[in-house]
């Protein structure tokens, strides 16, 4: 299962911890039971996707995360939001649907209602 997204995520989890890693180190950290070539392939794919940077040190590739965990999550959510903006139906369970907006008059009316309920001026 060299191309398993789950394995990619586990590799990224390790890289997000910081530092530069060789394939061997990643294998030892993530799952020593899997083949060295499995991790080499996964890291290659992650590099192609722009998720990891790599540099040759003493003839061997050393890998590091190209962005932080938070940045990667923000980019992933951003892609979904872009897709949702063009979709005819809600794609997300959000506190307030990003496609939803009350017109200004309704918003004012609701705010007055809220103030009346709370007894604030």
């Amino acid at each position: 299962m060299a191309r398993s997204p789950k394995l990619e995520r586990r590799v990224l989890d390790a890289l997000w911890g910081g530092g530069e890693w060789s394939v061997r180190q990643i294998r030892e950290e993530v799952d020593p039971a899997l083949a060295y070539t499995t991790f080499a392939t996964v890291l290659d794919r992650l590099h192609d996707k722009g998720e990891v940077d790599r540099a040759k040190v003493d003839g061997a590739w050393r890998y590091s995360a190209s962005r932080s965990r938070e940045e990667a999550l923000a980019a992933e959510v951003g892609r979904v939001l872009q897709r949702a903006a063009g979709a005819p139906e809600p794609l997300l369970v959000a506190f307030l649907d990003q496609m939803e907006r009350a017109d200004p008059e309704a918003l004012l009316r609701l705010e007055k209602l809220l103030k009346a309920r709370r007894g604030t001026p």
Partner: protein, 314 residues
Amino acid sequence: MSVAALALPVVVAAMFLGTAWALSTVVLRGWILVGRRHAELVRTAVLVAALPWLAGVAIALGALLPGDPHTGQVLACHCLESMPSWLHLCPVHPERAVVLALPAAAVLSLLLPGRVRALGRLLTEPLGRGGGQAPQLVDLDAPLALLHGWLRPTLVVDRGLWAVLAEDERSAVLAHERGHLRRRDPQVLMALRLLLVVAPPALARRVVRAWLDRAELRADAEAARVTGDPSGVAAALLRCARLGASAPRLSMSWTGGALERRVEALLASEAPARPERPDLGVADAVVLVALSAAGLLATPWIHHQIEHLLNLSF
């Protein structure tokens, strides 16, 4: 494999899709109409969306599996009893279905491409990264709090939104999203959308919208219960609406006053005493299993009726 041998699978696939599509059109339309008067009916969305699938599978199995309607035996081959002229659906003699292949292919060419595209879109949706109930603060282009992913949802909150919300508003937002998590709303939403793949898209959208509107009301009620302050939840909603209205990258549209309904519902009621149950429960599973069993047991009868209908038509 000969062309004749392909005829039966094509016919069976067309029967499944045609039945599911036609039944979706009728059932979902009726469900939407009745749901306008009886809001509590919305909780049955997944069950209702499953009905066209069950009917489609029953018809497809009925077409594929020969049976004896008199003895009720499934897989009781009646090839020997069939007259040569009798249009006979049977995996042993798939070439008999050749005459039906053309109309079946026409049905599939009309319905299948859209369904495959819709399914493809759903299957590429992110699964999520988990993370439990702790919010992950990230920089988004919009002031949003949402559950990202459907299988292992991650509670994501825009860092900018988090910074401007007051403590009680943060509590309301988190309690709302955790209410969704507790009732497994992202998974139910995905199940609903997968089931609705066989339905006409316009109807599917209306069903999803109705279900989601109710899910939001329930999450609001859960937030009101957890915080003990329904008006606080309403205040957080209005705050987010105000912030969202000024977010430049958001392309917004009027969606029928869902925000008003949510705020008015919160202000009109006290905080509920008990949490609500998920939309999918043991009772729904029992109903689905019972309907599936009934469909399976009816396959000899369905097979017989399909052959009668086809022989009347061809």
